[in-house]
Symmetry: C2
């Protein structure tokens, strides 16, 4: 790929910088409008570039731009889960949730589109981007809990909680971001402990974890 | 619609009976194969009818048949939630979950396709069919709990639990239907009570419900 800038720019961007600029423009638009209402013209205007330039970077048109934007948002979302393996476990989860909720808050409609599969065109590729993020979240949690091989009950419980957090985030956006973000975060952490505690009654692996979490508070 | 039977049938089916027969054939196939791997030929063969007959009932082809099958499965799923308003509340929830899990067990891959949006072609119509079922489930729960106007925290908690149940069902299918269905059902009921209890700490409406549920046990 060696696109030529069609208009003289006050500063010549590298290919990668330009790409990032276009994706950011697209994500900014998706944050306020559903993807099917965002045209390549809008993206060009938002980025202050010509439409042909957008096509040069995304020759597959809107679908390709949309998938690239999803992938970029997914990468950013994964970064939220990065948390040093230090200090009390539930405090780590709280910090990760703070970053996650800030991401949801910032991307708004774009976040809904990401999770709802996006309506431009749901494909197995877009689904697998979102599923990859869910798996990454579960892996991070297992790693912080020092669980190398989660049994089915523990695995199910953690994945159920992750799905519930997603659902809560979408409803939170629908409810004009109420309750306040700090309350949301604490409430989600408490739910995490509560569902693990329920599973602990039937599963020794989860029971040991719940004990460790309680000792850690 | 007054289709003529192309081959003499040992018993002439009414239009509606024929339609139901074709949908059942389609659902039976979707239970074992993802929708994109099921052709109209397969449906005709499964139902023991000619391919033109399938087209006569579903002139929109595979997408129309698929949407009709989703709608039929969604209607069946809604029936699972019908429960007399009598007896202890959590026992009612248990019975509804028994029927729901039996539905999941029976429809298997077809259930996954329904919830995963189905890959034949995800459209706003197919998404809204599934969302309608989720809303119906939440409405049933609120009605049994005698809550006419759920506040945002209670509403969120119930919807989160419903989403978590969906996620659990999909994983349960992936895990060869382990843990056993009775354990799944009890575990899901316990999670329902646990997440409501967490919300009750911050929400008087939910607190009153949890008290009523505890008194009812």
């Amino acid at each position: 790929m060696s696109p030529q800038a069609p208009t003289p720019a006050y500063r010549r961007l590298s290919v990668e910088e330009r790409r990032v600029q276009l994706l950011e423009a697209a994500l900014a638009l998706f944050a306020h409008r559903p993807p099917e209402e965002v045209s390549l013209d809008d993206v060009a205007e938002q980025a202050g570039v010509s439409r042909p330039l957008v096509y040069r970077y995304f020759p597959g048109g809107k679908q390709q731009l949309y998938e690239a934007a999803l992938r970029s948002a997914a990468d950013e979302l994964r970064l939220c889960f990065d948390e040093p393996r230090e200090g009390p476990l539930l405090a780590r989860l709280s910090r990760a949730l703070d970053r996650y909720l800030a991401f949801v808050d910032e991307h708004d409609t774009g976040f809904s589109a990401l999770l709802r599969g996006g309506s431009v065109a749901e494909t197995s590729r877009t689904s697998s981007i979102v599923d990859g993020v869910r798996r990454a979240a579960a892996d991070h949690i297992m790693s912080h809990l020092d669980v190398a091989e989660p049994g089915p009950r523990l695995h199910m419980t953690v994945r159920m909680w992750i799905t519930a957090v997603e659902a809560a985030s979408l409803m939170w956006l629908d409810e004009d971001k109420q309750p306040p973000v700090d309350e949301m975060r604490d409430w989600l952490v408490e739910q995490f402990l509560a569902v693990l505690t329920v599973t602990a009654r039937r599963d020794p692996q989860t029971a040991a974890l719940v004990e460790a979490l309680a000792a850690d508070l």
